[in-house]
């Protein structure tokens, strides 16, 4: 039971990180109608920035704040220089262009930081584990991730539901031509949304960095997971992204923890280990395929275009 709770918390933690990535992705997808394969690169860049800034300033928190700001700036520049010119093109051109950006950023990171990965070390007070239930010790840093990402999700909710900018974002998600026709400076709005998405992706990258190593291509697999979240949730829906992110995070983590054990009831140890490994990696895609077969536009389809 304790093991289950621990895995459940891990699932929530992964889900919250996926939400940070998926929120930006779904906004960019839903509002600008842009398929952005370079979103994972921003995640990677956020992690590299954080590792460098943390080294420079000798402070994890300061490094993290600087990294988020820097990734935001990269996002703004990227939108103005390149992404903006892609909106009017087809989805296929988006894939081509942002795939090019993905290659470019991987190479740029190799040029600047070298081919070897980096590590982002935590301040000592976050290294320990606390006893959250009798007999269950859980790493402080993972709790920090859950707490901080929940707070960011709350802030994002407040921003989208409670401010004028958020109103424009929501309006853009349901009918962007009309928002433009009503005299809103849609160009600036798009740039801001892309920057916001970049900052969220960079933030997700730097939060994940101390758990995994910071390396080239680290954004590629999680990008696909974020796309799964966006698709399950319904493109353009932040609420959908939140629900789907938790679902995907839990399915993935709990699947990895329990599927091999479940298979062992029926199969030999080695067979269940290898089959379990692939089956648990497949789980989120199975869930997505099932959701799309039943609901071809995701769980929370944004208002029809």
């Amino acid at each position: 039971m304790l093991y289950f709770i621990e895995q459940f918390l891990n699932g929530i933690q992964l889900g919250m990180l996926l939400f940070l990535l998926a929120a930006g992705l779904t906004l960019i997808f839903g509002i600008m109608d842009l398929v952005n394969l370079a979103h994972g690169s921003l995640y990677m860049i956020g992690a590299y920035f954080a590792a460098s800034f943390a080294q420079l300033t000798d402070s994890f928190v300061l490094g993290a704040i600087l990294a988020v700001l820097a990734t935001f700036a990269v996002g703004i520049v990227l939108e103005v220089v390149a992404i903006r010119r892609l909106y009017a093109r087809s989805h296929l051109d988006h894939v081509l262009g942002t795939f090019g950006l993905l290659l470019f950023f991987n190479e740029l990171v190799r040029l600047i930081w070298g081919p070897a990965g980096m590590t982002l070390s935590l301040p000592s007070e976050m290294l320990n584990a606390v006893e959250i239930l009798p007999g269950l010790f859980y790493p402080v840093y993972r709790l920090v991730i859950i707490g901080v990402t929940l707070a960011v999700a709350g802030l994002l909710y407040g921003l989208v539901m409670g401010t004028r900018l958020g109103m424009l974002i929501r309006a853009g998600a349901s009918n962007r031509e009309m928002v433009g026709a009503l005299g809103v400076n849609i160009k600036v709005l798009y740039t801001l949304i892309f920057g916001l998405g970049a900052a969220l992706a960079g933030f997700a990258g730097l939060m994940q960095a101390p758990i995994l190593t910071v390396q080239i291509g680290m954004g590629e697999n999680i990008l696909i997971a974020a796309f799964v979240v966006v698709t399950i949730g319904g493109i353009g829906s932040i609420r959908g992204a939140f629900v789907a992110a938790l679902l995907v995070g839990l399915v993935d983590t709990v699947g990895r923890a329990f599927v091999p054990d479940l298979l062992r009831v029926y199969l030999s140890a080695s067979a269940s280990a290898s089959l379990g490994r692939s089956l648990s990696s497949m789980m989120i895609y199975l869930v997505m395929a099932l959701v799309l077969i039943v609901r071809p536009e995701g769980l929370f389809p944004a208002a029809s275009k």
């Binding site: 398929v35 394969l37 040029l111 089956l279 199975l286 395929a289 799309l292 995701g298």
Partner: protein, 323 residues
């Protein structure tokens, strides 16, 4: 051959036809050049170009002509490759068994994926095809007996009982080239048949096609299966070419590569996927010779094409008026 020449029927010589002719002549004569200069690497590289062109061609059949943007096409390369590799490992070395199994398995997989995915539209279709390809990718990682994550070396190429010796590099190259040309001919015949007109009609306005009585779902599904089978054959060729299979050949970025080849060459052109595959792979190769950071150039180049060029290289050559 007469039919093949009709692929560029019309009158006169335009840049598009000139480029196609030069590319074909170059591919046909390349082994002579390689033999004269002793450049074995060029031979290997161009065999790869031809095989991946076949894969990109099959993708273009559904994506360019059918409007079905599949982001999981590398899965068929993997299925075709694994069919060859698994059978070879189990002692069945005959190409007469391996290749039909590669094609058949890819077709069956395409039938299942297509039947489920074609219910969705637009970006959701892109994503669900990606999801199925990821599943196959993880299945391959779980195949411990066949190398798991590390992949599997194929010690003997497919045996054709003395008819064709695939270990002969020149012969293998010409076999791949012949299959590619046969594939281009097949796609050309398909696209210009009644079947092809239904597929293209469904791309521009599916509702109208259904309203005038065409069961578009079935047509699209058949098209999807043909493309899958064709790419499965490319996978069997690729496994024979590299003597190696691994899950990496199904990674989602490989699917992205195939899409780039098709888009780069020009999706409305029969020779587009070939030109795209050739441009992409040769550029990658050349750039990595002159710089340690080839993608620093290649990436922005792709971005530039995506932003400013309509219809890929074929569009630059003035072929964009069709379709």
């Amino acid at each position: 051959m007469k039919h093949l020449l009709e692929c560029w029927r019309g009158s006169g010589l335009n840049p598009r036809r000139a480029v196609n002719a030069v590319v074909l002549a170059g591919l046909a004569l390349m082994p002579v050049y390689a033999a004269l200069t002793g450049d074995a690497f060029l031979m290997t590289l161009l065999t790869r170009v031809v095989i991946l062109a076949l894969a990109a061609l099959s993708l273009n059949l559904i994506m360019g002509f059918g409007g079905m943007v599949s982001f999981g096409h590398a899965a068929y390369l993997g299925i075709g490759g694994y069919a060859v590799g698994i059978l070879a490992k189990e002692g069945i070395g005959s190409g007469f068994v391996q290749w039909p199994v590669a094609i058949g398995a890819s077709a069956v997989y395409a039938l299942a994926v297509g039947a489920l995915s074609l219910r969705t539209r637009g970006v959701y279709f892109i994503m669900i095809t990606l999801a199925f390809a990821q599943m196959i990718y993880y299945v391959a990682i779980g195949l411990d007996r066949y190398g798991g994550d590390d992949g599997l070396t194929i010690y003997r190429r497919s045996q054709f009982g003395g008819f064709v010796d695939l270990d002969n590099k020149v012969l293998f190259y010409y076999l791949c080239l012949a299959l590619l040309l046969a594939g281009i001919y097949l796609v050309w015949r398909l696209v210009n048949s009644r079947f092809g007109f239904v597929i293209r009609g469904a791309r521009s306005n599916e509702r109208r096609m259904r309203a005038i009585g065409f069961p578009t779902f079935r047509y699209k599904l058949v098209c999807f299966v043909i493309a899958g089978a064709m790419c499965g054959l490319a996978g069997a060729l690729l496994a024979n070419h590299t003597n190696f299979i691994s899950p990496a050949m199904m990674h989602w970025t490989r699917s992205g590569d195939l899409m780039i080849m098709a888009v780069l060459g020009g999706m409305q052109a029969m020779f587009g996927p070939l030109i795209g595959a050739m441009t992409f792979l040769l550029l990658e190769e050349q750039l990595s010779r002159v710089t340690e950071y080839p993608n620093l150039v290649l990436g922005p180049l792709l971005l530039f094409v995506a932003i400013y060029v309509n219809g890929g290289i074929d569009g630059l050559l003035g072929g964009g008026r069709r379709g």
